[in-house]
């Protein structure tokens, strides 16, 4: 749970780079970052989660190949690493969109009508939770309490927190993002 509160938790990859998600070797950069993280831990097994986060930052998601690469590099069984990867919601074992929406479904947000807002997103993007929009931009994920109950309903889009959501603000957020990504791709 605690990692959800950390702002840097969903580090979205830099999409200007080529898709490296199925590469079987870690890059020098990935290794360097993992080694740096490793210095804070007692043994290799405990750095597994951080290593997955680092690789996900670079590759967008954790493919079987990436998982195996981390397992080889840290010399921990791939099954054990898979246990970690599938336990933490923010390690993605499938490709995700460029913007991951973490939509809060816990009590306060529920009281404040998140169900209606979620329906709005689903209808607007034509996706259900766990799916990615056809244009590859958005992935919708449900999440437990994001710790901002006094400003419910809330959701995170990438690293940004959006509070006191209304149908209107949701439309704006999504449209803005769409526009930004459209601009980027025509650059």
């Amino acid at each position: 749970m605690s990692s959800v509160f950390e702002p840097e938790v969903v580090e979205v990859m830099d999409f200007s780079k080529a898709d490296r998600s199925t590469e079987t070797q870690l890059s020098a950069e990935e290794k360097r970052e993992i080694d740096a993280e490793f210095s804070h831990y007692e043994d290799k097994a405990s750095v597994g989660l951080e290593a997955l986060r680092i690789v996900q930052k670079h590759r967008g998601w954790i493919s079987d190949q990436s998982l195996q690469a981390v397992s080889d590099y840290l010399d921990i069984p791939s099954a054990q690493l898979e246990g970690v990867a599938t336990f933490f919601q923010l390690i993605f074992r499938q490709p995700v969109g460029k913007e991951v929406i973490l939509f809060c479904k816990s009590a306060s947000c529920w009281i404040m009508g998140c169900a209606r807002l979620q329906a709005r997103i689903e209808q607007k993007l034509q996706i259900a939770p766990g799916q990615t929009s056809g244009d590859g931009i958005f992935t919708l994920l449900e999440t437990p309490c994001l710790g901002d109950c006094d400003k419910a309903p809330v959701m995170m889009v990438g690293e940004e927190m959006h509070r006191n959501l209304t149908e209107q603000s949701i439309d704006e957020i999504i449209d803005n993002k769409k526009r930004r990504h459209a601009d980027e791709s025509t650059d």
Partner: protein
């Protein structure tokens, strides 16, 4: 002893236990899932809730998980309180929301802990009508089925597989309702104890795939206590049989664990659990065969193989009787070849028939010598042969030359538990009870020191604190150096690079309270055995206390055979010579081979010599093999599960196995064939009539005890066939065994009279003693309300204690004799030619019988040769290259495997693998390596 009150009754209970195991040992039914007697508590499932009261004034109490609650003197508890019952019912109800309604097609059904616990809590009505979560199942190899929808997430499987057995490829994945127990990718489970998942999982997620192929419910199985015949550890098993598809003959359906505290406890290895199917395989002999004398198509047979045809058993027995008669008249020489995989009774019968002078051990001289060494070492009063619980409690272990993970797997599992003893000690100091599994495992107490010296990487490397790889000579020298260091002397023979390691290991061993040394016959080096003995006696002298030394033998009755055959010259190597001298005297010779494949014992040339020098070759065996193919007469012998007999395990423990069912066809015990022949023998004398008079297994046991005073216990192992309890024998079938008349209804609707067992007070029917507390012969562990194997606790002296109605076995009483002081052997200097071949064992492949079980056969590795990385580089060999090895007169083709651990100039060759058996008979030996050119198919 603390006194506690449960539901108003006072009990005096054992200190330091948790409430759940206390309740169970008091006979109170309390449901649970995640607790396991060998693995302790983690409090994961919440099924074992009870009420704990503060004091007599407290009438409400609070819910506690009994498995996590330490017993308190004066503690007040309630199991039956309404609140606790409701809570337990609701836990089951929650578990059931996702559990499928598939008991009728689930192979756990009828022996399912989840069914039992559901009944016990009284949750008999489903309210939940919603959808259930569904999972995809994985292919986990030929042994285990996977049906994840049945999972209740108790975590027992991963706790066993990872924590207890050291496996790395089974894991809890996902979370919440989606938690999944499986591999990262589909594939064969790698750990050699995976079969225990079948018994550890309280539901039908993991079931026995080999059993699926011929499945029947537990209550439809017929069972009797047996001993695993796949190595010399002597694990106790409960095989189950039932009529085959033809509705007549019984066939073996599966093997499960039968608790024996001192040996296997709750767990078997996969060779033992899945190796059983050889008895049903195509190579099984069920009829008497005689070689045809016409040479019709003989030209197609290689190496003098004979063409056989079935003959009536009576004719064969009469033929054997003629041979006996000629021998009695001095016109024929009879030679008997015994076997380490045959029972004492069978070996003894043959030995009596041919006379001790003509009885050969059925082993190469080297192997017989090793067995005699083991026997001699174990006779020294300073040596103690440790039981499994003693191995588990060792605080420093040295393994010298023996790859126990493959030659004595169950012992390897025990060593793995010993690795945690420092952690356990730390827990004691911190006053954490040992059963608090998760807390104890969390302590970072160093692993206990375990040093492993072997030819290559061992299956215990992950827990080893030091590792030494070398040739047999180097390992022996290392062992001698350790012995000298322990005795406070300066070691002579150890290279400086290993001196430091030797010093450190010797200090650890000297300082430990319960040191353990392990070695064995697998390394096929007498020097290593001697070094291990030197080392253990040095420790014993130092501590003025016998030292634990476990010596593995390789086969189920190796040590028993060594007791019957004490002359080291009665080995197969000497047989051709003996046959030749006899030939000069012009008396023809008949060689009787007892359950032995000679081509696994000696090189091809020697085996061929024996075959061609024998004027008549008579073989009694279970399976068709290279020896039976050369025989004039082949008798089908009963397998362990089809017969009764005694075997002696590596520790010198004599144990009896009982017939689970009658062998199909004309199968009977080898000794019965011999006794039948004696009965038909026209030439009568005292010897022949004694043998002809053997009617019961017990008659032989008495004869063995008389002939061999050290084996006297053999006559006292079990009740004889006339023994009765309340006028009854013990039932092999459960009350619910179905179809007993229906199964023969196509022929007759009359009630069948059950076949009489001539050897044991056990019946092949359901009428008789069912209660495992009344007789150790009852192997169906069942108690009302407890249909799964978890019923076991009902029959133990406390949790993890001995079975109340003990199985046990008895140690043979060997006269003690002190060992000489063995010095390290001086190696003859000189240029060695070729490569040193070292025997390498594998759980699947090295066992002769298990290799014939189809499931095991499907996972046996290709015959490999381990070659050191540097040697490979020098010779430009890559992994997967086809190689040929020539040793003695034999040549074998194998596939190169690169190894970082096998010593330079050595090659690891598989021991006993199908197709390359000769290699195992020779290694360690010098051999030549040839690169095979791949057929390129191109024009050059």
């Amino acid at each position: 002893m603390p006194t506690i009150t449960i539901d108003g009754d006072d009990y005096e209970v054992e200190e330091g236990q948790n409430l759940l195991s206390t309740c169970l040992s008091l006979g109170i039914d309390l449901p649970y899932f995640c607790w396991h007697p060998a693995m302790g508590s983690v409090g994961a499932c919440r099924q074992c809730a009870v009420i704990e009261y503060k004091d007599a004034e407290d009438h409400r109490g609070r819910l506690v998980m009994s498995c996590m609650t330490p017993i308190k003197d004066g503690g007040l508890y309630s199991v039956t309180a309404e609140q606790a019952r409701e809570f337990r019912g609701s836990i089951i109800e929650d578990l059931m929301t996702n559990h499928p309604h598939d008991c009728p097609v689930c192979e756990e059904g009828g022996e399912c802990h989840l069914q039992d616990m559901t009944e016990m809590t009284g949750h008999t009505n489903r309210r939940y009508r919603g959808t259930k979560r569904t999972h995809r199942n994985q292919y986990l190899g030929p042994f285990i089925n996977h049906e994840m929808n049945r999972c209740i997430a108790c975590y027992r499987c991963t706790r066993f597989y990872r924590d207890y057995a050291g496996g790395t490829d089974l894991q809890a994945l996902g979370r919440n309702n989606q938690v999944y127990f499986g591999r990262q990718q589909e594939g064969v489970l790698e750990n050699g104890f995976s079969g225990n998942l079948v018994e550890v999982c309280p539901t039908g997620v993991f079931t026995d795939k080999t059993f699926s192929k011929h499945y029947v419910r537990k209550w439809d199985l017929q069972t009797a206590p047996s001993i695993c015949e796949h190595c010399a550890v002597g694990c106790n098993t409960a095989p189950g049989a039932r009529e085959g598809w033809d509705g007549k003959d019984q066939m073996l359906r599966r093997v499960i664990n039968l608790y024996h505290r001192e040996i296997n406890g709750y767990f078997l290895c996969d060779r033992g659990r899945f190796g059983y199917d050889y008895v049903n395989c195509d190579a099984r002999l069920k009829a008497v065969l005689a070689a045809r004398t016409d040479t019709l198509i003989e030209s197609t047979a290689a190496r003098g193989e004979r063409i056989h045809g079935e003959i009536p058993p009576r004719e064969a027995v009469e033929r054997l009787a003629q041979t006996l008669a000629q021998a009695q008249k001095g016109q024929r020489r009879l030679i008997g070849i015994g076997s380490p995989r045959a029972s004492l009774e069978n070996n003894f019968a043959l030995r009596q028939l041919v006379g001790p002078d003509n009885f050969y051990a059925g082993l190469a001289e080297r192997d017989l010598h090793l067995l005699h060494l083991v026997d001699a070492i174990q006779r020294d009063p300073r040596i103690h042969s440790p039981t499994t619980p003693e191995i588990e409690s060792a605080d420093a272990i040295l393994i010298l030359g023996e790859d126990i993970s493959n030659t004595a797997p169950r012992v390897g599992l025990a060593v793995r538990q010993a690795a945690r003893n420092r952690q356990r000690r730390q827990a004691r100091e911190l006053k954490i009870p040992q059963w608090q599994d998760a807390s104890v495992r969390q302590l970072d107490g160093d692993p206990s020191p375990i040093a492993v010296a072997g030819f290559e990487d061992s299956g215990l490397d992950d827990i080893a604190s030091s590792r030494f790889h070398g040739t047999p000579e180097e390992i022996a020298a290392f062992g001698h150096a350790l012995a000298q260091l322990i005795a406070g002397k300066q070691p002579a023979e150890v290279s400086p690079e290993y001196l430091e390691m030797a010093q450190q290991i010797s200090e650890t061993l000297s300082a430990s309270e319960r040191p353990l040394v392990i070695s064995g016959c697998g390394c096929r080096s007498g020097e290593i055995l001697q070094a291990a003995a030197q080392l253990a006696t040095a420790l014993a002298d130092r501590n003025s206390n016998p030292c634990a030394l476990y010596l593995t033998c390789l086969e189920v009755n190796s040590l028993g055979l060594a007791q019957l055959c004490t002359d080291g010259k009665k080995a197969l190597d000497h047989l051709p010579g003996a046959l030749r001298t006899e030939g000069e005297a012009k008396n023809p010779s008949s060689v009787i081979v007892l359950e032995n494949e000679l081509c696994r014992r000696v090189d091809t040339a020697t085996a061929d010599e024996i075959f061609s020098l024998a004027d008549e070759l008579i073989v009694l065996d279970l399976l068709h093999n290279l020896t039976t193919r050369r025989a004039d007469l082949v008798f089908p012998a009963a397998a362990t599960v089809e017969s009764q007999g005694t075997v002696i395990n590596s520790n010198g423990l004599a144990q009896c196995f009982y017939a689970v069912y009658e062998g199909p066809g004309f199968i009977q015990e080898s000794w019965r064939w011999l006794a039948d022949a004696a009965a038909f023998c026209p030439e009568s004398n005292a010897l022949i009539s004694t043998i002809a008079d053997w009617k019961h297994c017990h008659d032989l046991n008495q004869a063995i005890a008389e002939a061999f005073p050290e084996l006297e216990v053999v006559a006292e192992l079990g009740p004889d066939e006339d023994f009765r309890i309340d006028g009854l024998e013990v039932a092999r079938q459960s009350h619910r065994y179905s179809g007993r008349t229906a199964i023969y209804a196509d022929k007759s609707v009359a009630e069948h009279k059950p076949v009489k067992d001539p050897d044991a007070p056990l019946v092949f029917s359901m009428e008789g003693i069912q209660d495992p507390d009344k007789s150790p012969l009852q192997a169906n562990i069942w108690s009302p309300g407890w249909n799964s194997n978890q019923a076991l606790h009902k029959f133990l002296q406390g949790i993890g204690g001995k079975r109340r109605c003990g199985n046990g076995g008895r140690k043979i009483q060997r006269a003690s004799r002190s060992l000489p002081d063995w010095k390290p052997a001086v190696q003859p200097a000189g240029e060695a030619e070729g490569f040193l071949l070292l025997p390498i064992y594998r759980m699947f492949g090295s066992g002769e019988l298990s290799a014939m079980a189809p499931a095991i056969a499907s996972v046996i590795a290709q015959p490999f040769v381990l070659i050191n990385r540097h040697d490979a580089k020098r010779l430009d060999i890559d992994a997967g290259d086809p190689l040929e090895i020539t040793v003695g007169g034999d040549r074998c083709q194998l596939i190169a495997e690169i190894s970082d651990s096998i010593p330079f100039g050595s090659l690891g060759v598989p021991y006993g693998f199908p197709q390359v058996e000769p290699l195992g008979t020779e290694a360690p030996a010098r051999g030549q390596l040839h690169l095979l050119q791949l057929e390129t198919g191109g024009d050059q």
